[in-house]
Symmetry: C2
Subunit: 156 residues, 2 copies
């Protein structure tokens, strides 16, 4: 879900801004105006992947384990919004129960064609995010327009 990506990114920026303090999931939830359970689920994924360390108990909390420059935005996107494994529900055509002999060549082949098209489009979409790190995103927070400027640069 796209919101998961936004929550991950926002949490990492917040933890970075509060280095070297430990930050509780409750504090993060308050700052992001979100349910603490949702925050904890996403922090748990980031924790497993080594983005942060967590300590429990009184004075416990989360701290970043890496610099923002070491956090690739595409990796975070793939982690929080995994690629679609099957486009079956988005595609018409061949169903397993059809008699293939009587099926039209279009119905028999459109699934493979659209799966290829959607798969390549999705890979190129993700490649866009992989160009950036969390440090680029932080730069845009401080001074809006860097992503738009880069796009204009590509066009010219």
């Amino acid at each position: 879900m796209k919101l998961d990506f936004s929550v991950a990114v926002h949490s990492l920026l917040y933890l970075d801004a509060h280095r070297p303090n430990k930050v509780s999931s409750r504090e993060l939830a308050q700052s992001l105006h979100l349910n603490p359970v949702m925050i904890r689920n996403i922090l748990s994924v980031l924790h497993k992947q080594g983005y942060l360390i967590g300590t429990v108990g009184k004075n416990g909390g989360y701290q970043l384990e890496k610099a923002l420059t070491e956090m690739n935005l595409g990796d975070l996107y793939d982690l929080t919004i995994p690629p679609t494994l099957s486009y079956a529900r988005f595609i018409t055509g061949h169903s397993g129960t059809d008699d293939e002999a009587t099926e039209s060549p279009i119905a028999a082949n459109i699934s493979e064609t659209l799966t290829d098209l959607f798969t390549v489009a999705d890979r190129q979409y993700r490649a866009y995010y992989h160009q950036f790190t969390m440090a680029d995103l932080q730069r845009d927070i401080e001074h809006h327009g860097t992503f738009l400027a880069k796009e204009r640069g590509l066009d010219s």
Copy 2:
């Protein structure tokens, strides 16, 4: 919805394969294994945009108005899956009721940054589809692998 794009593309290929015959929405629905109402809704959009002509009554039906080479795949994508106008529900941070003075700089600015990021990513995603016409898609139906081969060509 991505399925709408697939239905539009499949319908156009079917109508192309049956030129110069008129095809009823019932026949299309049977071939695509879909509800005739869904087919009619999508054909109505394609009709309004001049992709096909429809005649009513006995012997009525749909016929293509253009050649497949004149149908851009990105135009069809934009038509059936319009761009997201607001990413608000995918983004954390500033809410209208916050006291801006007490809000953190991250929460105050992340919405604009993520909106820019998502908007540019989506525009580049759509640009991928705009490279192709329905004739390219038909070619892949007849001989799978053209989209994958083009992707490999870009990489090398």
